[in-house]
């Protein structure tokens, strides 16, 4: 019976991980940039929700689009003013650049919000739901559902909208896209903005589950790495499959070996996947 419970926990946790990773995956897949800012973006989104709830009583679920919009603006301007300049440089340069930007943003957050751990405490709390013998905390289930909804929205945007098609064309072939009249630089800025939007919205949703502190950004970033590598890069499906796989692995590892083993195991798995199957479970795909 405990296996069913752990399985359910793992799937829910996986939904959260998918939300953490999907923006990171989009930026890596389309722009070929490992965005070290992603963790800090999530934390910033969580702060938006924290203050929106504290000051205006706005529910974090409603704050998510606002946090996303703020982060979109930050991401868009960062890409168009700074990152676009070196977008074709080797990974060493782009990764180091985003790392430097992350040092800046994280330091700014530390100064503005201090390192204290905070949390959005909902009043009244959401409680739990029961499926026979399985108990699930309702806040996690709701966050997972909303995160998946958001991810589905991104998928539709990329598939059905003209802008989404333009983004995909940049991913497939930058030169050909430019020849077809796509404003590549602008699309790159929009893509980075969307990645930041997803991070901000995810952070806002997660603020009711995880404690909020600038010190947490590396944890989120690490999860995004693992999810992207396990699931396979550059597709919404990959982020979801990778997220759920990681959620299940962590839950069962916690059951069998103890919770302290989940993080080293997930990083060992990352290296193992890269060594054996670098394209991830789903393989490298587009958003076709």
């Amino acid at each position: 019976m405990i296996y069913l419970q752990v399985l359910a926990n793992g799937v829910v946790l996986g939904g959260l991980y998918a939300a953490i990773a999907v923006g990171f995956s989009l930026v890596w897949g389309v722009l070929n940039i490992i965005n070290m800012l992603h963790g800090s973006f999530i934390v910033l989104g969580a702060y938006v929700a924290f203050f929106a709830y504290g000051l205006f009583g706005l529910h974090p679920f409603l704050a998510a689009p606002i946090a996303g919009a703020i982060l979109f603006a930050i991401g868009y301007s960062l890409q168009s003013t700074v990152i676009n300049r070196v977008i074709r440089a080797p990974v060493l340069m782009t990764l180091t650049l985003t790392f430097g930007l992350d040092l800046l943003l994280n330091n700014a957050m530390l100064l503005a919000f201090k390192a204290d751990y905070r949390k959005v405490v909902l009043d009244p709390p959401l409680g739990s739901m029961f499926f026979g013998p399985i108990v699930l905390p309702l806040d996690r289930v709701a966050v997972m559902a909303l995160a998946l909804l958001l991810t589905y929205g991104l998928y539709r945007l990329l598939r059905d909208s003209k802008m989404g098609r333009a983004i995909i064309s940049v991913r497939m072939d930058r030169e050909a896209a430019a020849l077809m009249g796509v404003d590549v630089m602008r699309m790159q800025a929009i893509t980075f903005g969307i990645g930041a939007f997803m991070a901000g919205a995810a952070g806002s949703l997660l603020s009711i589950i995880y404690p909020i502190s600038p010190l947490n950004s590396m944890t989120f970033l690490g999860k995004a790495f693992v999810v992207c590598v396990i699931g396979g890069l550059g597709s919404v499906g990959g982020a979801i499959v990778g997220g759920i796989a990681l959620g299940l692995i962590e839950s069962f590892a916690a059951l069998w070996f103890g919770p302290e083993y989940t993080v080293p195991l997930s990083f060992a798995l990352l290296v193992a996947f890269l060594a054996v199957r670098p394209t991830g479970l789903l393989g490298r795909r587009g958003y076709e």
């Binding site: 060493l92 990764l95 180091t96 040092l103 990083f267």
Partner: protein
Amino acid sequence: MRTAIILVIGAALFAALLLLGSNYAIRFATIFAMYATLALSWNFIGGLAGYPSFATAAFFGLGSYASAILQSSGIPMLMAWPIGGLFTAIFAAVIGLAILHLKGHYFAIASLALVEFLRELVNINDQLTGGGMGLNLPVAHAGVTQQALFFLAAMLAVTIVTLLAAVVVSRRKIGFALRCIQQNEDAAIMLGVNARRYKAAAFTLSALFPGVAGGIYASWVHYIDPSDVFDILLSVKPLVMVLLGGLGTLFGPVIGAAVFLVLEEAVWRSFLTVHAAVLGLLIVALVLFLPNGLMAIGRRRWRASQA
């Protein structure tokens, strides 16, 4: 020639600094030697072979823990350092088999993950490593200044050995092979360069010296904990130094380390609460405006004056 002049001036400044003899100067010089070692080591894999490794912190931390644990089981310090370094090098050689076939982003992520993996491993094996509580190292019974000078000498010795290794590598076939791999790995393989072997050698070298330096660092500061020696900044700083000094050059990493350390020291002194942001700003400016390093400015001027 220009590099030689800069090095001579640098060595003179360094000697002057030591003659001042204050413990602060000695500490400063020891950190410089450590940074130069890390930068020179990273240059083997990152500069010569062109593989974006972020694993330096993993090697530094592994070396410091290996040496600390060896010492706590009774091995004398002077033996623990090289054994710790060798252990780190062997670890890198084995891991290299698994990840050196990866390119670009995937290699970068894998090497970053090594740091996180080892840090967490050290955190959970608390019976061996003390976990998050860290490890204390034996304190020698000697005067403060004598000790400081001793560790400076040890760190400088490692720096010099690393520099010699860099000179040897760049003059031998392996240096040529690594540069070929950096320019076009497929073409190099087609021409019969055993890319796999040379990359493994470069990766191992990039681990050996940081491993030894980590051991010396641990004995020097008497206390290590996972977040200190597996700090991701220890991976990023060396490559920033190499970028400052010039990728794939022989003495660039040493010059870069000196420039970086002076900047860092100035920033630490005056802007303690925003030092991370200032470091971030430095990195951003470096990538945007000086991707070929400080020496490139000089070279441009030099050429302009010749023309």
